[in-house]
Symmetry: C2
Subunit: 214 residues, 2 copies
DNA sequence: ACCCTTGTTGATCGCATGATCTTTAAAAAG
DNA sequence: CTTTTTAAAGATCATGCGATCAACAAGGGT
């Protein structure tokens, strides 16, 4: 409105992190804040608002990222990368440990990583937007985690029920849905998530006749 | 770009549904297309594109809805309303029928309603946007469906495990996740969804020692 | 055949947004 | 202290968006 004084051009409210940072550092700072920002308002959040949060002018963002799309790519990368620990496949297939214990360990660690507002929301936003990374992540998850879980279950399953990939997705979905409920739908989660996860795993194992020590 | 000829002002490509419809009919037509449109591109889809799909000028939309927000409200209403059949609570608590059969009937019907691209995506978009309706829907679902399921399970549960609300959410989440996987993440769903649902229910019942005929 | 109601158009406004470019000044180099 | 480099600011452009409003014309009533 007024006489050429857009609020985003006024400097940061707090006296934090003024000017002339080393490029690498500034770049990281921008991406970090962008993750939080886009997780909150969606991928269509505007660059001026993001800049204001950083205490920086909007044009500076384009100094580090040629387009908004490039910034979003950096956000995806930061969010998706290293979310799947490379040693999980090995630990999930280590048959010296009971399967129940392996699953418990995995989902406890994994849920600690993904039951996080920023991750959960950006994953959903990018999924809805049809981001390729999203699809790739799930394919990867299927191959590296869920498929091994299926194999391990098959090796131990007793009785008539034979596990299929769909059973693993059901186990996985039931657990992940806890995060969706709380961070996407904004509902109250379970009082004890660990306990909820343990029960989900026990239900799964019981159905295939696998005991706690198997 | 050229000389004042915005493409959305050109009339419909197909010769369908030209002009001067009865207001009620037109309104319904707009809402119906808006559901499809916003489900596809997100709630921030623009009115010009929507109008073009309808073969109508953009300004006409504002003749039926004062603001875009009002149009979105109408979309929510159309999508959310009557999604929860009022006779489900009764049928779920009809103890002359085995619980397994009741759950199977419910989730078969319910999944037919919600495993639908438009619904699934708009629900997710509005959830991320923090829409009040979304929250209300889930509260309602909890009270009217999940709570009764908990009660019915409690009445039949044998053995040590006592069901809690979290168990019902786990059952529900595992099933709903099928729809999320397919329609939000764009993955391949189960070959036989009914079978997947049945197995999820059986896992649930087995855990609480409830047989197929109980 | 004429009029009158009103559904629909076409043009336009004000504003927000992504992006560009010149200018300023902080910090390093000499 | 002076010069040089370049991170950052400030101004601005082009476009796209929601929204408004006067003008037009389809269709029913008489």
């Amino acid at each position: 409105m007024g006489a050429g004084l857009d609020s985003e051009n006024i400097h940061s409210i707090e006296g934090v992190a003024r000017r002339r940072m080393p490029p690498e550092e500034r770049r990281k700072q921008i991406v970090a804040e962008a993750v939080r920002f886009f997780a909150e308002v969606g991928l269509e959040g505007n660059t001026r608002q993001l800049a204001r949060r950083l205490g920086v002018t909007q044009s500076l963002l384009f100094n580090y990222f040629p387009t908004k799309h490039d910034l979003l790519e950096a956000v995806y990368e930061k969010v998706y990368l290293d979310r799947l620990s490379p040693d999980w496949p090995d630990r999930l297939t280590d048959r010296s440990v009971p399967l129940r214990q392996r699953l418990l360990a995995f989902y406890t660690e994994y849920s600690a990583l993904i039951f996080e507002r920023d991750w959960m929301r950006i994953f959903m936003f990018s999924g809805l937007a049809g981001a390729a990374l999203n699809h790739r992540y799930l394919e990867h998850l299927g191959e590296v985690i869920l498929r091994p879980v299926l194999d391990e279950t098959e090796a131990l399953a007793r009785g008539g029920a034979r596990p299929s990939m769909e059973d693993i997705w059901n186990l996985h979905g039931g657990i992940v849905y806890i995060g969706i409920r709380t961070h996407i739908y904004g509902m109250n989660g379970p009082e004890d998530p660990e306990d909820a996860i343990a029960k989900a795993i026990d239900k799964y194992l019981l159905y295939f006749g696998i005991g706690p020590g198997d």
